[in-house]
């Protein structure tokens, strides 16, 4: 049954789209970063669910266990999570600097010209 075999992936795609919407549609920079994190986490769920085998166990070697889930996606996701937090940290530091320099974190207010950079009259 194709539908039942895939509903895991469908949910992941919906989560991805929610995160993508947060990145595109919301103007606040912090909300964008949160949306990016939601997007990343949903991609991790996709990868891990690709590696799972029904009826298998965690990929730690034990006596008497025959079938293990695939350890390779886990390795990939482990690295990806850490890189994700690194990116989030730098993005938030940038947001702090933007807030100080321009006074706001919203997209609409950051776009146009303003006179804070002109020399004082």
């Amino acid at each position: 049954m194709e539908l039942l075999g895939h509903y895991n992936y469908y949910i992941v795609v919906v989560l991805m789209m929610i995160g993508l919407y947060a990145v595109i549609a919301r103007g606040n920079l912090v909300k964008k970063v949160i949306g990016l994190n939601i997007f990343q986490t949903s991609v991790f769920i996709l990868f891990v669910s690709l590696g799972k085998i029904s009826g298998a166990s965690t990929p730690v070697w034990r006596e008497g266990v025959e079938l293990y889930s695939n350890p390779l996606p886990h390795v990939l996701i482990l690295t990806a999570i850490v890189v994700g937090v690194a990116t989030t940290a730098v993005a938030l530091a940038l947001a702090v600097r933007i807030r100080e320099a321009y006074g706001s974190l919203d997209d609409d207010e950051l776009g146009g010209p303003y006179d804070q950079d002109d020399p004082a009259e």
Binding site: S54, P73, V83, V90
Partner: protein, 172 residues
């Protein structure tokens, strides 16, 4: 999924951060159900801990509420719907969930599963692959996290100058 929608819709950023922590914990629970112990531990520690703390730290430096945008953002919704539809159509081509005969479980994975304990004496296969078979990638990752620390340091170690709108007289 409900939590994710709530994170996007909520305008109070503090609540968004808390909901994001709940989302991370729920996905960590999902990872545990999917037999990924290492990933669950890391996601719970990193997502619910560090990311939330950093967002809260930024919130002490920024206004707490998001601006309200009137109306529905039609271009964004259409982009999201179109991308979602394409992805859903593509994902239907994936093999069924959880079958041992999937292509992802052939090629390299059986070699690692069979030989990790025999060659290395290390039961945890994920750590074995990370630290021994694919050691250079982990080295690169350490460099990445170190570079992130450098980046944050270089961004945030400059003393903040007073904003011109705060002072009536001009500064520099």
């Amino acid at each position: 999924m409900v939590v994710a929608i709530a994170v996007v819709q909520v305008r109070d950023l503090f609540s968004a951060a808390m909901l994001f922590a709940i989302y991370s914990l729920l996905s960590a629970a999902l990872f545990t159900v999917l037999d990924a112990g290492d990933v669950a531990l890391t996601e719970a520690a990193v997502g619910a801990g560090i990311s939330t703390i950093l967002i809260l730290a930024v919130l002490t430096l920024a206004p707490r509420h998001e601006k309200r945008h009137p109306g529905i953002n039609w271009p964004a919704i259409s982009v999201v719907v179109v991308t979602g539809a394409c992805l859903l159509w593509a994902v239907s081509d994936l093999p069924a969930f959880g079958q041992p005969g999937n292509p992802v479980h052939t090629h390299v994975a059986p070699y690692y599963i069979e030989h990790a304990y025999k060659d290395l004496g290390v039961p945890n296969m994920v750590a074995a692959v990370l630290a021994s078979y694919r050691s250079i990638d982990t080295f690169g990752e350490v460099i990445v996290i170190f570079t992130a620390g450098l980046g944050v340091f270089s961004l945030l170690s400059v003393r903040p100058t007073a904003r011109k709108s705060n002072k009536p007289e001009d500064s520099e």
